[in-house]
Symmetry: C2
Subunit: 344 residues, 2 copies
């Protein structure tokens, strides 16, 4: 099994991507195809003092899509590392592709090159989130804005396939993110989707609130990508900033009347920081799969360092070995019951 | 100066509200009017072993709006504690009213009884949020769903008046919450609002992301109430659950190969927990003012205990003494420049 990896995508590419691939090569069964400027890749490898392992091959591509490039221009680069990496899956030379690069270009490459699963209107990005009770899925975390009710229903179906494939959870529960639990809550689109989900999703528990995201009582939380993206980034910000915030408070305390905190206390804070990062940091999850397409495409965080890249490759291998696409096709094999429209 | 307080609203009413009013009475200059079933209020006071202070008076109201009651039924209760508390402001007997009760009924009472400030289309709920750099405002946190672009513009204007009155910050910066910083990001409504804000708001910094909420580089973050409510509750959940989450991890560690964490470590965790709560807990902020109405209305959290009630009363007194309504009228004194519509 082979994973194609966009060597040129991400804020710390190609160095961090190459480092990540070297780490992954030691841990996974699959081999890795690094796609990008071969010369650059080889130069970075030797700078890293690494000999290219047998299980990593390099496929040259001449163009690079910059992180901030307009999508229209990015899509015209036919020999970009993103496009070539996706093509390797299309042609059957690889089973999955991974990129930390330009998110719009990666999603477009996934959809255009691999195609959508029949019945899927809009593919979506999903992510696993750590909760008190284990692991849940949040979908969509940024592929779509202005989702229609039927898109939210499809996100629920995709979420089911995702959670089955990712954590082997059968009969997962599904909740729809809203501004309250009662049926009268929700904006217009959410209310319409609530009705669709009631009619079509087994184990649909209804609306869930912001506080439920970490609680873990629901396996899959469905939302529009505008909201999902804000939530995800807020969570990342919280994890990153909380230790700094507390440290500032402690400094404030020690400048004031109280005694300076003890060394034990300070090292405990480091420990706390480590625990928070280990459990909430996106680097540990590696990436978000683009769901609803005919193949495996993992979009990593732009700020990924080597560990995050390695974990994204692990995720890609896991899905490539597993039943993600098969479960997805099953979910979309029958047309949805639309039911009565909600009158507002 | 007098603050009217709905004694019957909230999950722990009337007990927690009465306790909160007793705490506040010792700290504030204003007197408090407790509104609700006089008999119940007096019974709870004596159960608490408290003698009613001079600075607290009781106004009897016969009806109570339950937390989960449909709004249509709630609004028919003309002698409800919420309505009577609002009427006291209308008639000039009190300068502000505070309720931890049914949020829809409180907002309706505020808008219907006190009226909107000329030019305001939809009042909004604002809240102060702690950040790395100090304090920011988030608006709307739940009064409105499906806000139109012009509503988001008005939230920015209200936010300006709010932050000036609340933390005396002049020339505050304003950001619009979106799924990315670039101009091409945003859903349809947000893009249109982006254009309006550019044309009308001094110190508008453009789109901000979820990670910026805690960062504190922007004084006012504007969003639709559907999103704001989800964010607020997610933040609350994070604060509440993070210590539990970490504790579980530690228990997991100590059952595994590692040594059981030391007592120092455990007590540091308590300390951390305390610091998080002191800085992020809604109980410390007390409540969210309903902005855009002709008077001061503070909506407290339904789960408020005595400290939160006390802090909501403090907030009400602060705004009643200050320049909130005056600043609000100034913000709405000139019609907005609509500019060219955004073509998507």
């Amino acid at each position: 099994m082979k994973i194609s990896l966009d060597a040129m995508g991400g804020d710390f590419a190609p160095r961090a991507v190459i480092e990540g691939s070297l780490l992954a090569a030691e841990e996974i069964e699959s081999s890795i195809i690094l796609v990008g400027r071969e010369e650059d890749i080889r130069a970075h490898m030797s700078e890293l003092g690494a000999k290219k392992p047998e299980s990593i091959e390099i496929v040259n591509s001449t163009e690079v899509i910059d992180m901030g490039e307009p999508l229209s221009r990015a899509l015209r680069k036919r020999d970009s590392s993103i496009r070539v990496a996706a093509n390797l899956v299309k042609s059957g030379r690889a089973e999955a592709f991974v990129s930390m690069g330009h998110s719009g270009a990666v999603m477009a490459a996934g959809i255009i090159t691999l195609g959508k699963i029949p019945g899927v209107e809009r593919p979506a990005l999903a992510t696993l989130i750590p909760t008190i009770k284990g692991t849940s899925a949040l979908i969509d975390v940024g592929a779509n804005v202005d989702s229609k009710p039927v898109n939210l229903l499809q996100f629920a179906l995709m979420g089911r396939a995702f959670i089955k494939a990712a954590i082997e959870k059968e009969n997962p529960t599904v909740g729809l993110l809203s501004n309250g639990e009662e049926d009268i809550k929700g904006n217009d689109i959410t209310k319409q989707a609530h009705n669709l989900l009631k009619n079509n999703i087994t184990n649909y528990v209804g609306y869930v609130e912001g506080k439920d995201i970490l609680l873990g009582d629901v396996d899959i939380i469905v939302c529009d990508g505008f909201v999902g993206n804000i939530i995800l980034k807020m969570g990342e910000g919280f994890v990153e900033l909380l230790p700094r915030f507390i440290m500032k408070k402690i400094e404030g305390l020690s400048e004031g009347e109280g005694a300076r905190p003890s060394l034990e206390y300070m090292s405990s804070l480091d420990e706390f920081d480590r625990l928070v990062r280990e459990n909430f940091d996106y680097n540990q999850y590696g990436g978000a799969p683009l769901l609803g397409i005919n193949g495996i495409c993992i979009l990593g965080h732009g700020r990924s360092k080597a560990t995050a890249v390695k974990n994204a490759i692990h995720m890609a291998e896991g899905f490539a070995k597993g039943r993600l696409v098969c479960e997805m096709e099953k979910e979309f094999s029958k047309p949805p019951t639309l039911g009565k429209p909600v009158i507002n």
